[in-house]
C-alpha cells in the first residue's frame, strides 16, 4: 500500500523520460509507445485515486526527505487524482482519435516529435496537478506554455504560426504576471511550499495593514492565470488557436491546457491563500462578473461565427466563463460546480473538436456552414458523435452539461444573496437558450438533405470510434451519476484544507 505513494512522482518522471525516448523512435513506434505508456499512467493514477479514497486522507511525498521549508513536495488527494485521471483519459483519446488527421497535417519524419511534445505536455499537466510547491507550479506552467505552442505550430501553414504568436504573447503576459504574484507572495511569507505559506498568510492577515499587499499579490496571480486560461476579455485568441490547429492539438488545448491553469488557481486559493480569507477578498466578485460577461459574449460570438470550428471555439470561451462564475459564487458548492464543469467540458469539447474535421472532410474540406449541409448523413459516425457533444453543450438531461448547469444553479441558491441568485439564473437561462440556438441550427444543417451532393466518401479511420465511444461514455457517466462525482469533488476539496 505504501508503494502507491510513489506513483504521482512516477507519472511525472515517466512522462519526461518518454518525451526524450520518443525523439529517438520512428513516428509509428512513438505513437504505439505513447498509447501504451498513457495506459500505464492511467492505471497508476487509478491506484492513487482508489488508495486516497479508501484511506480518506491525502498524502504528501517529500522529495529527498528534506524537512518542510527547504524541500520540494508532491501531494495527492482524491481531487488531484481525479483531475489527473481525467486529463490522462482525454489526452489518450485525443491522441488516438487525432493521429490520422495528424498524418495529413505534418510530415511523417516529424511525427515522433509531435509525440515528444505530447509526452512533455503530459509531464507538465501531471506536475501542475500534483505539486505542493508554488514555484514548481510556475516552472511547469512555462513548460506547458512552450509545449502547447509546439503542438500548435506542427501544422505548417501561415495561419497557425500567426495564431501561435498571438497565443504566446498573451500567455507570456499571463506568465509574467503569475511570476510577479508568486514573487510577492514569497516575499511576504518567506516560503514556497503551500502549507507553510498559508499558515504565514493566516498570521499576516490578522493585521489589516497587510491586507492590501495580500490582495494585490493574489489579484496579480489571478489576472495572470485568467489571461492564460482565456477568461473574458482575453478570449479573442481562442478561435484562431483552436480552429487552425490540427484536430488532436485543438482538442488538447481547449479541453486540457486551459483547464489545468484553472485547477492550479483553485489549488492556490485553497492551499496558499486559504479559502476563508479568499472569500473575503473582492477578487471573487470580479471573477463572477467577468465569468458572466464571458458566457454572454462567448455565446453571442459563437452565434455570429460562419465556420463550425470558430463556433465551437467561441463556445469554449463561454464555458470558461461558467467555470469562473462557479469560483465567483464561492463556497464548497460553487467550487464543486466549477470543478465538475471542468470535467464535463473537457470530455465534451474534445469530442466536438475531433468530429468537426471529419464532417469537413466529407464536405470538400471546408468548415463553412454552407458546405457542411448533409455532412452528418455522409459520415454517420461523426454526425452521431457531434450530436452527443452538442446535446451535452446545450444541457439536455442525462448528459454532463445538464448536471453542471444544475450544480451551478444549486450553488447560487445555497450561497448567494438574492441579487446573485437572480443574475446567475438569468445568465444560465440566457446562455442555455443561446447554446440551444446555435447548436440546434448546426445539427439541423448537418442533417439536412443536401441538393448538390458532394460525393466525397470519408476515408476509413481505424481506431477512431473507440476513443470517441470512451468520451461519450464518460459524458454519460458524468451526467447520469453526477452526485457520485460531485461527492468525490467535495471530499477532495475538504482534503485541500
Amino acid at each position: 500500500m505504501e508503494f502507491f505513494t510513489n506513483f504521482p512522482l512516477f507519472t511525472i518522471v515517466l512522462s519526461l523520460f518518454s518525451g526524450v525516448l520518443c525523439m529517438m523512435l520512428s513516428g509509428k513506434t512513438a505513437r504505439k509507445y505513447t498509447i501504451l505508456y498513457e495506459c500505464v499512467l492511467i492505471v497508476m493514477v487509478s491506484c492513487v485515486l482508489w488508495y486516497t479514497y479508501r484511506t480518506g486522507r491525502a498524502f504528501t511525498y517529500v522529495m529527498g526527505e528534506f524537512p518542510a521549508p527547504w524541500g520540494n513536495e508532491i501531494r495527492a488527494g482524491v481531487l488531484e487524482a481525479m483531475i489527473a485521471l481525467l486529463f490522462l483519459i482525454v489526452m489518450l483519446c485525443s491522441v488516438v482519435a487525432g493521429t490520422h488527421f495528424l498524418i495529413d497535417d505534418i510530415d511523417e519524419s516529424k511525427l515522433n516529435l509531435y509525440f515528444t511534445l505530447v509526452n512533455l505536455m503530459t509531464a507538465a499537466l501531471m506536475a501542475m496537478t500534483w505539486t505542493n510547491d508554488i514555484f514548481t507550479g510556475y516552472v511547469f506552467l512555462e513548460i506547458l506554455t512552450l509545449t502547447s505552442c509546439g503542438i500548435l505550430i506542427v501544422r505548417e501553414i501561415g495561419r497557425t504560426t500567426l495564431a501561435a504568436v498571438r497565443y504566446m504573447i498573451l500567455n507570456l503576459l499571463g506568465s509574467g504576471l503569475f511570476l510577479l504574484g508568486v514573487v510577492l507572495l514569497y516575499d511576504i511569507t518567506g516560503n514556497l511550499l503551500m502549507v507553510p505559506m498559508r499558515e504565514r498568510i493566516g498570521v499576516l492577515s490578522s493585521d489589516p495593514r497587510n491586507m492590501m499587499i495580500i490582495t494585490m499579490a493574489v489579484g496579480i496571480l489571478t489576472i495572470g492565470l485568467s489571461i492564460k486560461s482565456g477568461l473574458f476579455p482575453f478570449h479573442y485568441w481562442m478561435p484562431d488557436t483552436y480552429g487552425w490547429a490540427t484536430p488532436a492539438s485543438g482538442s488538447i488545448l481547449s479541453s486540457l491546457v486551459s483547464k489545468c491553469y484553472i485547477f492550479l488557481l483553485v489549488k492556490i486559493y485553497y492551499r496558499v491563500v486559504g479559502i476563508e480569507l479568499f472569500e473575503k477578498l473582492p477578487i471573487r466578485y470580479l471573477l463572477l462578473l467577468l465569468g458572466m460577461c464571458g458566457i454572454v459574449f462567448g455565446s453571442v460570438s459563437a452565434m455570429r461565427a460562419n465556420n463550425i470550428n470558430r463556433m465551437v471555439a467561441f463556445s469554449s470561451a463561454a464555458q470558461i466563463g461558467y467555470i469562473y462564475m462557479g469560483i465567483g459564487i464561492g463556497g464548497a458548492a460553487g467550487y464543486t460546480a466549477a470543478i465538475f464543469h471542468i470535467m464535463a467540458h473537457s470530455v465534451t469539447k474534445s469530442q466536438l473538436f475531433l468530429t468537426t474535421p471529419r464532417l469537413a472532410e466529407v464536405s470538400g474540406r471546408s468548415l463553412k456552414f454552407k458546405s457542411l449541409q448533409g455532412s452528418g448523413l455522409r459520415d454517420k459516425n461523426a454526425g452521431f458523435f457531434f450530436l452527443i457533444g452538442s446535446m451535452s453543450m446545450i444541457g439536455i438531461p442525462i448528459f454532463a452539461g445538464f448536471a453542471s448547469k444544475l450544480l451551478f444553479g444549486m450553488a447560487a441558491v445555497k450561497n448567494g444573496s438574492t441579487v446573485m441568485i437572480v443574475t446567475v439564473m438569468l445568465v444560465l437561462a440566457a446562455s442555455s437558450l443561446l447554446n440551444a440556438l446555435y447548436f440546434i441550427r448546426t445539427i439541423i444543417r448537418i442533417y439536412a438533405y443536401a441538393s448538390s451532393e458532394i460525393r466525397v466518401r470519408s476515408t476509413r479511420r481505424p481506431g477512431y470510434n473507440i476513443p470517441m465511444l470512451i468520451l461519450t461514455g464518460a459524458n454519460l457517466a458524468l451526467g447520469l451519476v453526477s452526485w457520485v462525482f460531485a461527492g468525490l469533488i467535495e471530499q477532495g476539496l475538504t482534503m485541500f484544507m
Binding site: 514555484f135 512555462e142 501561415g158
Partner: protein, 126 residues
C-alpha cells in the same frame, strides 16, 4: 510616500521596469520590440526578487572560518529562483524568435498588423 519609495528604490525601479515591459509586450506592433518588452518585464521581476532576497551587511551563504550562524548569511533561495527564472525566460525567448523568423520568411515583414492583412488574403489556408 516619497521617503518609502526612496528607501526601497530598487523595488520601485523593478516595478517600473515590469510596467514598461508589460505595456511594450501588449501594445507594440513590431514583433522584435514585443520580445524586447518581454525580456524587460522578466528582468523587472528578477530584479525585484534579487533585491528582496539581499539583506544589507550580510555575506554570501558560503561557510568560511567555520561560522555557521545563519544570521551572518543571506538566504540562497531567491538567487536560485532568479537563475531558474532566467533559464525559463531564455527558452521562451528562443521559441518566440524562431516563430518570428518563420513569420518573417513567409510574410517579409515584422509588423503584426501587416501580417494580419496578408494572412487574410491568403487562399491556401481555406
Amino acid at each position: 510616500m516619497i521617503e518609502t519609495l526612496l528607501a526601497n528604490y530598487e523595488e520601485a525601479v523593478a516595478v517600473i521596469l515590469f510596467g514598461i515591459g508589460f505595456v511594450m509586450l501588449l501594445f507594440q506592433r513590431n514583433l522584435i520590440k514585443k520580445l524586447i518588452g518581454m525580456n524587460i518585464m522578466d528582468s523587472g521581476t528578477f530584479l525585484f526578487l534579487a533585491s528582496m532576497g539581499y539583506i544589507h551587511g550580510r555575506k554570501a551563504p558560503i561557510i568560511v572560518d567555520g561560522v555557521t550562524d545563519p544570521e551572518v548569511y543571506i538566504n540562497p533561495v531567491p538567487a536560485g529562483l532568479v537563475l531558474t527564472g532566467i533559464v525559463v525566460s531564455v527558452s521562451v525567448t528562443a521559441i518566440m524568435l524562431a516563430l518570428t523568423v518563420r513569420l518573417y520568411k513567409r510574410y517579409h515583414t515584422l509588423q503584426l498588423d501587416d501580417i494580419y492583412q496578408l494572412s487574410r488574403h491568403q487562399m491556401e489556408d481555406r
